[in-house]
């Protein structure tokens, strides 16, 4: 399982001549970090990294806020048509992304958002899955807690912010990590809405790297390592939430 990763790292430390040796060397004779230097200097790898960070962080924070607010309304408030509306939300969950991607692209074009950060962030903020997941979490919090707070004169916002949100931290963490990973790894959407390299995120940037240096595998692998390290760090740090997120995303129906 780990061999491809080790081979990736090994290649990223080779000079170009050493990648074209048969039989292949696992431990390069002259290990060098030159590729990392080259790929960040001759190619805007660090800029892509920044774009990915910006997009993933904003998408995640925005999604957490918007999903939890709507989830609060769905779980904790009474209004006409609430359950039917929520059913509509649920029904859209089985629609594959490829169905909405064409009109979403046209929408971005009409908004004048092609080649902007908005195009990368805004459509990703509205996660039905996230709304669903948080609603489930909020429903499990006992009603008595908020009734007591209402008696003390608290309004919905302070109940939401001081009672419901703190009690839902594990679910929020799971959703947050999960949407960060999705945003970080997303390729198809940036491929569609971004033409201008300066807005490319890492996956798109890597694919551009491929177009530019088809044969410089050492440079490519250095680029891949740069793109993998941040998400790997987040993963090792929050393994539990990653796995929960993946499991729950599988169980979203």
């Amino acid at each position: 399982m780990l061999l491809p990763f080790l081979w990736m790292i090994s290649t990223s430390l080779k000079n170009q001549g050493a990648t074209m040796v048969f039989p292949p060397q696992f431990i390069p004779d002259h290990a060098t970090f030159q590729n990392y230097k080259d790929v960040t200097e001759a190619f805007p790898m660090l800029h892509f990294l920044g774009n990915s960070l910006l997009v993933a962080v904003l998408t995640t924070l925005g999604q957490l806020l918007l999903c939890s607010m709507a989830a609060y309304a769905f779980a904790r408030m009474q209004f006409w048509g609430r359950d039917k509306l929520f059913l509509l939300y649920l029904a859209t969950m089985m629609v594959p992304a490829q169905v909405t991607m064409i009109p979403q692209f046209i929408l971005m074009k009409n908004f004048g958002w092609l080649d902007t950060y908005q195009a990368l962030i805004v459509p990703g903020l509205f996660s039905v899955f996230g709304t669903f997941l948080l609603r489930q979490a909020f429903l499990s919090i006992p009603k008595e807690l908020e009734e007591a707070a209402f008696m003390d004169g608290a309004n919905h916002f302070s109940i939401f912010w001081r009672v419901i949100m703190p009690l839902s931290k594990p679910t929020l963490a799971t959703l947050g990590i999960f949407s960060f990973m999705q945003s970080w790894n997303n390729y198809l959407w940036p491929l569609i809405v971004i033409n201008d390299k300066s807005f490319a995120t890492l996956p798109l940037g890597l694919s551009l790297l491929q177009g530019r240096w088809e044969t410089n595998w050492n440079m490519m692998m250095a680029g891949v390592v740069i793109s993998v390290l941040p998400i790997l760090a987040v993963y090792l740090f929050a393994q539990k939430y990653f796995i929960q997120g993946m499991t729950m995303s599988g169980m979203k129906e």
């Binding site: 607010m69 709507a70 064409i102 009109p103 939401f160 990973m181 390729y187 890597l206």
Partner: protein
């Protein structure tokens, strides 16, 4: 709510719900409906939209390229699904025991899952390199030489399948681990008293009790694999000679390379219908297990 006027309550509902609802309607419901509408037009993004009825769907039915893409997707699934299920289950069984370095192995199997498809595809493209790739190097030990993986029409799809299985084993494993943990140990204890060996225990206890999980994992993997794209786009772009042109690659080409928005939308609705049917089957079957 206690002590609140109706007007105030309406205000709070609006505050909490509207931002999400507006986005939901704009970026999910509206695109969904317009995608259906566009599928009945011959829009190319530039000239005016013309209503063509079900022409796109009729044309699709006779479109050899579309059916080839369908067939390639099925080929992918037939190769991918059994392998990922078997390896995923095997890993889950191994790691469900108290083996040494369990945490390390779990992390190792899950590592590809958190890595982007683009990164994984590039690494495997390099592994499949015909001249200096590691895979041909290993194969040379058993006398197989010079396979031109991604440029060979009969090997490109297997290469994509191998890559995909490797990436998803960890995901399937985690779902199976969840299922295994739901099986009560008392069954195994009873079997131990009867003197059953581990193979018999697996065959008569684990596998039958794991059926709902297995079914569920199959459905999820099936839905995901109908949408296979990233690895194909990076490794072969649907080539060589269209040999790996899968459904979503075909939709992408028609929409964003040839700008046939109507035709591509019709294709995406066929994909939707396929996934919808699979989901319906899942719901039906799940009800049966729940009772």
């Amino acid at each position: 709510m206690v002590g609140m006027t109706k007007k105030k309550t309406a205000f709070w509902i609006a505050v909490f719900l509207l931002p999400n609802l507006i986005g939901f309607l704009t970026f999910i419901v509206f695109p969904l409906l317009s995608s259906l509408a566009i599928s009945f037009t011959n829009w190319d993004l530039i000239s005016t939209m013309e209503f063509v009825g079900i022409d796109n769907y009729k044309q699709l039915m006779a479109d050899k390229e579309f059916w080839a893409a369908f067939a390639h997707t099925i080929t992918f699934i037939i190769g991918y699904l059994p392998l990922v299920m078997i390896f995923g289950l095997a890993c889950a069984l191994l790691l469900n025991r108290k083996v040494k370095l369990r945490a390390f192995f779990r992390a190792a199997y899950f590592l590809p899952v958190v890595t982007s498809w683009v990164a994984v595809s590039l690494v495997w493209k390099w592994l499949f390199n015909p001249s200096y790739g590691l895979i041909n190097y290993f194969l040379s030990f058993v006398g197989i030489e010079g396979l031109n993986w991604l440029q060979d029409e009969s090997l490109a799809m297997p290469a994509i399948i191998i890559t995909s299985v490797w990436k998803d084993i960890g995901f399937v494993m985690v779902l199976f681990l969840g299922g295994l943990q739901n099986i009560s140990t008392s069954y195994y204890e009873a079997a131990d008293i009867d003197g059953a060996n581990s193979w018999k225990k697996f065959w008569n206890i684990t596998l039958p009790l794991l059926t709902p999980t297995t079914f569920f994992v199959t459905i999820i993997s099936l839905i995901n694999s109908f949408q296979v794209f990233d690895q194909v786009m990076i490794m072969t772009e649907g080539g060589p000679g269209g040999a790996t042109n899968v459904l979503v690659q075909n939709i992408y080409n028609h929409a964003f390379r040839y700008f046939e928005m109507g035709y591509a939308s019709a294709m995406s609705w066929i994909l939707f219908i396929v996934i919808f049917v699979i989901t319906l089957i899942q719901m039906k079957m799940q009800k049966r297990w729940a009772d």
